[in-house]
Each structure stands twice: as structure tokens, then as C-alpha cells.
């Protein structure tokens, strides 16, 4: 079987999403489309939305070992729908893809899983909350969520405990992705305390740290003029956090968006242009040449920091390849975070 064709079909919407939900006038073919003023409904909205084309449960974690070594962990479950219906059994149009990664300063372990919906191999239930594909799980109540995944050469088994409220990006969770108004529903839990064990070929290591959950769903594919994005989730030592992304365009211009999450619990959405991110140093990682050091500025909040990859080779050699890994922050603020870069060749 032409594996590429399958992956293309599954990943096209994902790739589109990863690159910013662009595409004016591209029809969503019967799928629901995000609209402003949506009233989120929990726990239901923690579960899947089969009438939207694309959705993800995306956890990144900055962890520290007993000797102070930095580690990064990623657990992601993507849902993509061939048709806007849940379906049952093998004929369900819902397809699932899992990505798991473990990053150390010297190594980056990645693995991927694919599954059909409708047969129980992968899925998400809202109450009690559980997201799974094969033996990988993200399940349990907010204060004791289990997150597990394994590949041929690595594994992790972590417990997550929420330490603050959910954060809704953009206009109360309606996150605009282009000047033309393409959008998704987007909320986060940026404050999970983490403890548990990671496993590398050298053995088990107990770790603690912080995790960040992103939830996003939409239906619109990418625009022709958008080439990729750079996404930052930064946790400053002051307790403040910030999420920001830059959608790069063919003409060299970009569309930016950011959310400031204060240590005091206040959040603020910052409009296009408030955030600037400038590459300082590029690096030939295993799949592409990518910037691994950035100057990130958010003048409205006095942020002018240098963001540096902990492992410049954190390349995700998956069906849609991209770069995703933990970063260190220095400058006006210090701290740690995660960086995702798509669309580099």
C-alpha cells in the first residue's frame, strides 16, 4: 500500500491546521465552522467534536531530573475526520494519530501511532476524561491525570495535577488565525504540576516539573500564502506565562497572536503585531534547517527575551515532520517553555 497516500489523506487537514487554518473560500465540506461568542460547555468540550474536521489534545512538559538535567516530554492525540459524523465500527470516518516524544539535552526520541475510530483502539471520552491510542493514555481527573506513552526506545509514566484555571485564547476561546478571520476554538491548561518517571535506553529517571495542555479544534484548511508557524509557550520564573504564535506568509509578512497569563490569574489577548519573534541562530536539525535561538519581544508586557532550544535536534520525524522541543529563556525574564516550528524545509 502506498503509505504516503494514506498519510497524506490523514495528515493533510493536520498539516493545514498546523500551518494556521488559512484558506479563504476553501469550503469545509459539511463540517462545522468555529464562530465568535461560543459558550464552552464542560466536561463535554474536553471530549471530541466529531463534526469538526480537526482536533487535538496536546501536552508539552518541562521536566527536571534529580541531577538538575532538563527534559521535555510531548504527548499529542490528533483527531481528523473524513466526514462530519462519529460513525461506528471500521466504517467510522474518524481517524486518530498519536505523537509522543521525550527530549533530553543530547537525545530526542519520537514515535507515532495511527488508529481507526469506531473500534475502540483510540478515542476520547469527556466524563470521566480519558484520551487514548493503543496503550498510550491521558486520563483521569484534573488533579490526578495519568499520562503515559512508550516507543521502542523510550517511555514515560507521569501524573499531572492542575494548579490553576483554564485559559481561553483570543476572544474567549475564539482564536483568530489570519487577517481574513480564519479561526479555531482554543483553550489551555497552562499550569499542571508533574511528577513521575521517564525511561530512556539508559534506564528510569524520576522527574518533576510543569506541563501545558492545549485543546484546539476547527475545520478550515490552510491558505496558499501561509507557509508555517512558530509557536511559543513560555513559563517565566515570575509565575507569568505567555502563549504566542507567528504565522509566516509567503510575502515575508506574518500574522501574530499572543495571550498573557499573569501569575495573578488575569489573562489578556494581544492583537496582531503586539508580538515579534526574530530568529537569531539557525541549525541543521535532522529534518530541516530551523531557527533554534529566537529573540521574542512583547513590549506591552516588557518582555524582551532570548529563547534557546535545550536540544537543537528535537525534530519530529513523523508523518508530518516538524520541530518541537523544550527551550530555556533568558533576558528580561528567565524561565522555560516549549517551541514548535512547522513549515521548514
Amino acid at each position: 500500500m502506498n503509505v504516503k497516500a494514506i498519510l497524506l489523506a490523514i495528515c493533510l487537514p493536520l498539516a493545514a491546521a498546523a500551518q494556521g487554518f488559512g484558506g479563504l473560500g476553501t469550503n469545509a465540506a459539511g463540517f462545522a465552522v468555529p464562530t465568535p461568542g461560543y459558550a464552552f460547555d464542560f466536561p463535554a468540550d474536553a471530549g471530541p467534536h466529531p463534526d469538526y474536521r480537526i482536533e487535538w489534545w496536546y501536552v508539552t512538559a518541562n521536566l527536571t531530573g534529580p541531577d538538575g538535567t532538563d527534559y521535555g516530554v510531548q504527548w499529542t492525540l490528533f483527531r481528523t475526520a473524513l466526514a462530519p459524523e462519529a460513525g461506528d465500527g471500521w466504517s467510522s470516518p474518524q481517524l486518530w494519530m498519536g505523537h509522543a516524544a521525550l527530549t533530553t539535552p543530547t537525545a530526542h526520541y519520537v514515535t507515532e501511532r495511527l488508529a481507526r475510530g469506531g473500534i475502540g483502539q483510540a478515542g476520547v471520552t469527556a466524563a470521566p476524561f480519558a484520551a487514548w491510542i493503543d496503550e498510550w493514555t491521558l486520563a483521569g481527573p484534573d488533579n490526578a491525570m495519568q499520562m503515559r506513552a512508550a516507543g521502542p526506545d523510550f517511555a514515560y509514566d507521569l501524573t499531572l495535577s492542575a494548579q490553576g484555571p483554564l485559559v481561553f485564547h483570543g476572544d474567549n476561546g475564539y482564536s483568530v488565525k489570519s487577517a481574513a478571520g480564519q479561526a479555531s476554538y482554543y483553550y489551555s491548561q497552562p499550569r499542571f504540576g508533574v511528577s513521575g518517571t521517564i525511561t530512556t535506553p539508559d534506564g528510569d529517571i524520576s522527574v518533576t516539573g510543569q506541563a501545558w495542555l492545549d485543546r484546539e479544534w476547527s475545520s478550515q484548511p490552510l491558505a496558499d500564502n501561509q507557509t508555517g508557524w512558530d509557536w511559543f509557550s513560555l513559563s517565566f520564573d515570575t509565575g507569568d506565562k505567555m502563549m504566542g504564535f507567528v504565522l509566516r506568509q509567503l510575502d515575508g509578512a506574518s500574522y501574530t497572536s499572543a495571550t498573557w497569563i499573569g501569575a495573578d490569574g488575569m489573562t489578556a489577548a494581544l492583537p496582531d503585531g503586539a508580538l515579534t519573534a526574530t530568529p537569531l541562530e539557525t541549525h541543521q536539525s535532522p529534518g530541516a534547517k530551523v531557527p533554534i535561538e529566537w529573540r521574542v519581544e512583547l513590549p506591552a508586557r516588557g518582555v524582551d527575551v532570548t529563547v534557546t532550544a535545550i536540544n537543537p535536534d528535537a525534530w519530529m520525524a513523523t508523518s508530518i515532520p516538524y520541530w518541537e522541543g523544550p527551550v530555556r529563556i533568558a533576558g528580561s525574564h528567565s524561565g522555560r517553555g516549549y517551541l514548535e516550528m512547522t513549515g521548514y524545509e
Partner: protein, 796 residues
């Protein structure tokens, strides 16, 4: 200069079209036979490979359910959720087509239909139904409601691939999985298989059902045939090239005297040869395609019948095969032409430019050839005693055949010398002397005939021996009149209860897989019954083997196990921790793995979990039909769970008939090639013979008489050659059966003789020689007297 020189060289062929035809036809025939056989082999292998690639057979580890059962889909999900990266396959048959349902998302890379149109994967997964297969297979499948039938030429024959969801509904196997393919890379922290599916078993890649290995014996025969045919063809080409060079010797001298540099000349001649090789190669490959296309349906039927291997009945053109055909034509020409070019390069410019009959060149070389032949035959003799292993086996074949071919002119020369010495009367004396004079010119053609005859005798003997042995073996293995299979242990118990009053004996067939003496093997538990005692023949056995087996104090092993593990009668064999002495060794043809038979009592003790689901039933043969009916009507056993012995035997014999069609066709083809070689040799000699025959004619012999004598000479030489080919063919058969077969497959077939077959083959060879000689002889008988007179006037 190059053009003028090339034109002069090529003009030779225009004036001697027969020679050109000989050269091209010989090479084309040789290439045709070789590439035809290779095409058949390649097609079959491609079919196995396609099956392996699309179905993951042999390539990946697999998880299988207990015999006769399926894996519940829940178990599959449980395995996935425990971290086992397995991919489900649901398969079954429909209209004789193997329907294979796959899940492309979990299947290891490279599995499944070769082309899924980009973006149309949705249709494949949707459950609406897309079926991928060759056009032939789709025809057999017929219209399947609501499915898109997609023609995929690269698919394994007789196999259709679809989504597992669609396959489950098509085959009415909802939530059932036939087997699981295990991905090569598995995640950390997986629990053992037995924790999740205690009744499932893991089958390692490349074990059990590797069709390629099973069918190798058949392909080996074909390849041997093709190689011999090619060797025969190369003899023809060598002769034709030698003749052409000899005749053009004066022209080459003239060209050089007129200022053509030697190296340019050699390049031109080499280019000329290569061009001819390519032309002949193309013709040969095309002819080979025809041969292959004609033979393939029979070969496919044979392979399906013998081994259950699905092989396409239609031939595909494969670039690799075209290239190898052309390559062998060019390579063969290079081998045949290298010597001639070498002599040309060393030929002095000024040596007397007298034309010399190529045929008479043998002289001093004959002794050298005799010594070489003797040396090769001595090596063959040593190898016959010492050879073990496939390489030594083939070395034995090569030394035997080449040595015998080289020895042929020497032996024939000796026979003719004896005959000439005893001849009375002038005509007889002249006839024998003249025959001796012809021998060097005909010897290449006669060698070709010798090899063709020997190959036919050898291969016929092997195939016929195989048939006799195999049919006897079928009697042994299929000693019960009817075989029934139960779905479950419960049904088995009910069957036994139902059958006990209706049959003479019920023989349960139960087996367990086991590693014996370090080799994968099956252990069978046998009930003590007269059936076995009367039908089974041992290759070697201790006294009262059946009695001791019944008493449980011993075991029987098949030949494969005994050869591989070097086990003899009386040796101990450890089965599941208990040591049994070996009581007997039996032939077990066609089985790739080892086998051992225990009495059912110790078997049940060692393998308590094994349950007999298959049974052999002994009843009077005329009651088989009635019992089948009763089982079907009263017990409700489906027809496909009953097999009657007569049916299997008829089927097996039918398979052999197809095998023989193939062998016969190849027999006739190789003999035709040899006959052609004789014809061409005689025709090329004919022109040179006029000066030898003209004086005899002038002295009072009629042209008609001379013609008859020419014919008689050809038949006589063919008869002598055939007589020599018979022992050679038998030696070849012995080498194939006793050395090559043992090395390749682990069993030795007993050799039988088939005098009538040999007589028929000898008759065919004589017929070929007579037909070949007929035209030249007729030509001679009708030579105008003026042509004979010219011989005298031309003489200087």
C-alpha cells in the same frame, strides 16, 4: 575506411545466408529455451513474492488463533491497548478468490495494494468497499455489490485486497480476525502475549509456509532444463562462428593486405558479432516468451496442485527478464567468439592464404580434448562418491556432462576405427573411412545431441521416479477412505460417537509443534491400527517397529528429520522431556519440516492440550458416498469438512499429468534444438564435401546411392550417440536424485528405470537426426553432374 571494411565483412553473410541463419537461429533457440524457462520461474517467484509482500507472509511475525478458530476483535483491541503493535487481517475465500482484509493504518510499511490513488484513501476506509486485485482475479470474483473493483496488476494472483471492515461484512465474519501481523519494532513495557491471548500463538517470520522453499525443487528441474538447452545452443553457435571465421580467413588477409589495420578489423568483427547476438537475443527472448506463455498454465496448475501456491496463469513482461535474456545471448556469443577472435589476432598476415576446411582442424586438438574429457570424468567419479551439498552436486553435474561431451568424438572415433578395420568391400571401406573424416565436422552437433538426450533421459527418470514414489507415498499417507474435520472439540466428540457404529475404524489425527533435536518439527499421535501396518513403508526400521510403537516404547521420524539431525534407527530422541528410541524412518516427500510419530497414549501424556479435530475413517470404498451423504444429512457436517481419498488421489495424479506435459514439451524442444544443430552442420559441410564426393561419383557410384549413404551416416552417428547418451542420462538422473535432491530438500528419492521411455526418446533422437540429414542428402542426390565436374576443373 570503417564503412568499407564493415561492408566487406557483412557481404559475407549476404552470400552465405544459410550460415547467417544457422548462427542467428542457434543463438535465438538457445536464448529462447533459456529465457522461456527463466520466464516461467520468474513469473512463479514473482507470484510468491507478491503474496509475501501484500500479505506479509513470511516477512513478519504473526499471531495465529488455535486451529480452526478466529481471533475476536476485542482481543485485537486488548492487544493494541496493552502495547502490542499488531495489525489485523481478516481473510476468507469467495468464488475461489482469497479475500484479504487489511487495516492500512496499522499494517507495517509496504503492505497492501500497491496503488491507492492519492486522496481516495477515504473511499478505501469508508466501508463502502474498494477491492484491489488483478483483472483476472476480479473476473473470477464477479460483481460484488456496492464495491469499486480496482485493477492492480502487481497483486498476487487469485488474491483480492480490501479494507478489513469491508472484508468482514463481505465474508460474514463480523468482529472476527484471521491473524495478526506483528510490527518489527515494538514499544517498551509490553506484557507477554499469554497475558492477553493465552490461546494465541506467535509464529516467527520465514517459518512454516514459505512457498519459495517448498517449490524450489520444481523450479530447480526447470532451471536445469533451461541451462542444458542453452549449453546445447552454445555448441551450435560456437560451431557456426568457427565456420564463418574459417571461411573468411582469406578475406581477412586480403583486407589487411589492402591496408585495414588489425585492431580495427577485430573491433569490427566483434561489433558484428555483438550486433548479431543482440538481434538473435531479441528474437530468442520473443520466442522464449511464446514458450513461457504456452507452458505457464500447466506450470501454474502443477504448482497450485502440488503446493497450493497461487501462480498467475498469464505472463507479464518483466524488464529484468528481457535484459537477462539479451545478456545471456551476448555473453554466450562472447564466449563462443572469443577463441575465434583470439586466433584471428594472432594469424600472420603472410601465411599461405589457402582455404582450410574448419572441420579438419581437429587433428592435434583431439588428443588434448581426450585428456581433458578423461580428467573431467575422473573428477565427476570422485565427486559422485564424495559430494555432499548443493555446490558439489552441481559441480558433479557439470563435470559429468562436459566431460562426457568432450569424450564423445574420441569414443566415436574409436568405434569408427574398429568398424573401418572390419569393413569388407570397397564401398563399405569408403563409407567408414568417409564417416571418420566427417566426424570432426559433426562432433559439435553430436555433442549437442548427446547432451539433449542425456538431459531428457535424466530429467524423465527423475520426474517419473518422483511420480512413482509420490503415488506410493500418497497410498501411505492417504490410507483412510474418508477424512473429516470437526470445528471444535465438542463437535469432534459428537462426530466420533456418530461414526463409531458406522465405520470399521476411526483414526484420530492429532499433532503438536515441537522442536526436535534442535529443528522445528511436528509430533503426531497415531492410534495403533492395521491400516498403518499394511500401508506404511519404511526407509529403514527396527524389527516389529509398529508393535513397539503401539506399546509406546519408541518413535518414528521422517527422512528430513533423520538427515538434518543425523538420526538413525536406534538413536534416542527427546520429545518434550521424554526420550524415545527411533524405531523407523519413513519417506515424507514434499514436507519442508521434520516430523515424528508417537503412539496416541504417550502423545496424550506429553501433549494433553492437543485435541484431535481431524479423523481418518476406514470403511469399504463403496460405502464412502453413502457415509458422506449420511454425515451431511443426519449429522449436519458441511461438505467442505469431508475429503474422500479417491478425490485427493485423482487430483494428485491429475497434477502429475500437468507436470508431465511440461516435461514432455521441454523434451521435444531440446531434441529439436539438437536436430537443428545436426541439420546445420550437415548443410555447412555439404559444400566442402563436393571435392570429397566427386571422385567417388566419377568412379561409378550414383548420386542417389551417395545420398542414401549420407542419410545412413547421420542416423548411424545419431544411434551411436544415443547409445552413449543413455548411460550418461542415467548417471545424470542418479546425481539429481541422490546428490542434488538430498542437498536441496533433505530427501532422497529411489531411482526407477523406464526402458520404454528411453526407447521412445532414442526413437525421437533418431528421427531428429534422420529429418536433419534428409534435406542435405536429397540435395546431394540431385546435385547436377556439372557441379561435380567443376570440382575437377577448379583444381589447380
Amino acid at each position: 575506411m570503417t564503412r568499407a571494411g564493415f561492408a566487406a565483412l557483412l557481404s559475407h553473410w549476404r552470400r552465405n545466408p544459410l550460415q547467417l541463419f544457422t548462427l542467428l537461429a542457434g543463438l535465438a533457440l538457445a536464448t529462447a529455451l533459456w529465457s522461456g524457462v527463466q520466464a516461467v520461474n520468474a513469473e512463479a517467484r514473482a507470484s510468491y513474492d507478491a503474496a509475501a509482500a501484500t500479505l506479509g507472509e513470511g516477512q513478519f511475525d504473526q499471531i495465529l488463533p488455535p486451529e480452526g478458530q478466529t481471533i475476536p476483535q476485542d482481543t485485537y483491541i486488548a492487544l493494541r491497548r496493552a502495547g502490542w503493535l499488531v495489525s489485523p487481517v481478516t481473510e476468507g475465500r469467495m468464488n475461489g478468490v482469497r479475500i484479504v482484509g487489511l487495516d492500512p493504518l496499522t499494517a507495517p510499511g509496504g503492505l497492501g495494494p500497491v496503488q491507492v490513488v492519492d486522496g481516495d484513501i477515504g473511499a478505501f476506509l469508508s466501508g463502502r468497499g474498494q477491492i484491489y486485485a488483478t483483472a483476472e482475479t476480479l473476473d473470477r470474483l464477479g460483481a460484488v455489490a456496492n464495491a469499486d473493483l480496482i485493477v492492480t496488476p502487481d497483486m498476487a494472483p487469485g488474491t483480492a485486497i480490501t479494507d478489513i471492515g469491508f472484508a468482514q461484512s463481505l465474508l460474514d465474519m463480523h468482529d472476527e480476525i484471521t491473524r495478526l501481523i506483528v510490527a518489527p519494532a515494538q514499544p517498551l513495557g509490553r506484557p507477554p502475549l499469554s497475558d492477553i491471548g493465552p490461546d494465541l500463538r506467535l509464529q516467527a517470520a520465514q517459518s512454516g509456509s514459505d512457498l519459495g522453499r517448498l517449490t524450489d525443487s520444481f523450479h530447480l528441474n526447470l532451471t536445469a532444463f533451461g541451462l542444458l538447452a542453452f549449453a546445447v545452443g552454445i555448441f551450435i553457435v560456437h560451431g557456426a562462428i568457427g565456420l564463418a571465421f574459417e571461411q573468411r580467413r582469406p578475406v581477412v588477409r586480403t583486407l589487411r593486405a589492402l591496408g585495414m589495420p588489425l585492431n580495427r578489423l577485430i573491433v569490427l568483427i566483434a561489433a558484428e558479432l555483438m550486433a548479431m547476438a543482440l538481434i538473435a537475443g531479441v528474437i530468442g527472448v520473443a520466442l522464449g516468451y511464446l514458450i513461457a506463455a504456452t507452458l505457464l498454465p500447466d506450470v501454474a496448475a502443477t504448482l497450485r496442485g502440488l503446493y497450493g501456491a497461487d501462480v498467475s496463469g498469464t505472463l507479464q513482461l518483466r524488464p529484468a527478464w528481457w535484459l537477462s535474456g539479451l545478456g545471456i545471448a551476448v555473453g554466450g556469443t562472447a564466449v563462443a567468439g572469443a577463441g575465434a577472435l583470439w586466433r584471428l589476432a594472432r594469424m600472420p598476415l603472410l601465411a599461405a592464404a589457402q582455404p582450410r576446411a574448419w572441420a579438419m582442424a581437429a587433428g592435434a586438438g583431439a588428443r588434448w580434448q581426450g585428456f581433458l574429457a578423461l580428467g573431467l570424468l575422473v573428477v565427476a567419479g570422485v565427486l559422485a562418491f564424495a559430494a555432499t551439498g548443493l555446490v558439489a552436486g552441481f559441480a558433479l553435474l557439470a563435470t559429468l556432462l562436459i566431460g562426457a561431451a568432450l569424450a564423445l568424438p574420441v569414443v566415436l572415433g574409436a568405434i569408427l576405427r574398429v568398424c573401418a578395420a572390419r569393413a569388407r568391400g570397397p564401398v563399405a571401406q569408403w563409407f567408414w573411412a568417409d564417416t571418420r573424416q566427417q566426424l570432426p565436422g559433426l562432433s559439435l552437433a553430436l555433442m549437442a545431441l548427446l547432451l539433449a538426450m542425456a538431459a531428457n533421459v535424466g530429467v524423465s527418470t527423475m520426474v517419473s521416479s518422483f511420480r512413482l514414489t509420490f503415488t506410493a507415498f500418497l497410498d501411505q499417507v492417504l490410507s483412510s477412505e474418508l477424512y473429516v474435520t470437526a470445528d471444535s472439540p465438542e463437535q469432534a466428540a459428537a462426530l466420533v460417537a456418530f461414526l463409531t457404529p458406522r465405520t470399521d475404524a476411526i483414526l484420530p489425527i492429532q499433532s503438536a509443534e515441537q522442536t526436535l533435536a534442535g529443528y522445528p518439527a511436528e509430533v503426531f499421535g497415531a492410534r495403533d491400527d492395521a491400516t498403518y501396518r499394511t500401508n506404511w513403508q519404511f526407509l529403514d526400521a527396527a524389527p516389529d517397529a509398529w508393535g513397539r510403537l503401539a506399546a509406546g516404547d519408541g518413535v518414528l521420524v521422517n527422512e528430513q528429520l533423520s538427515r538434518r539431525a543425523s538420526l538413525a534407527v536406534g538413536d534416542p530422541l527427546d520429545i518434550g522431556g521424554t526420550v524415545f528410541p527411533i524405531l523407523g524412518i519413513y519417506g515424507d516427500y514434499g514436507n519442508p519440516i521434520g516430523q515424528a510419530i508417537l503412539n496416541e497414549v504417550p502423545f496424550a501424556r506429553l501433549f494433553p492440550e492437543a485435541v484431535a479435530l481431524r479423523f481418518g475413517l476406514r470403511i469399504a470404498p463403496d460405502q464412502v458416498a453413502g457415509l458422506t451423504e449420511t454425515l451431511s444429512q443426519d449429522f449436519g457436517l458441511p461438505r467442505d469438512q469431508m475429503v474422500d481419498q479417491a478425490g485427493i488421489k485423482a487430483f494428485s495424479l491429475n497434477v502429475f499429468e500437468r507436470t508431465f506435459t511440461v516435461t514432455d514439451a521441454l523434451n521435444i524442444l531440446t531434441l529439436s534444438v539438437a536436430g537443428f544443430a545436426i541439420l546445420m552442420s550437415l548443410l555447412t559441410l555439404a559444400a566442402m564435401r563436393l571435392p570429397q564426393l566427386a571422385p567417388v561419383w566419377a568412379l561409378g557410384m550414383t548420386r542417389g546411392r551417395l545420398g542414401w549413404l549420407e542419410l545412413l551416416r547421420a542416423v548411424l552417428l545419431a544411434l551411436l550417440t544415443t547409445a552413449l547418451a543413455l548411460p550418461l542420462g542415467l548417471a545424470l538422473a542418479w546425481a539429481l536424485l541422490a546428490v542434488v535432491n538430498v542437498a536441496a530438500f533433505g530427501w532422497r528419492l529411489p531411482m526407477y528405470f523406464f526402458p520404454l521411455d528411453y526407447l521412445r526418446l532414442g526413437g525421437l533422437a533418431m528421427l531428429a537426426a534422420a529429418l536433419a540429414a534428409l534435406w542435405p542428402a536429397r540435395k546431394l542426390a540431385r546435385t547436377p553432374p556439372a557441379a561435380l565436374l567443376q570440382v575437377f576443373s577448379h583444381e589447380r
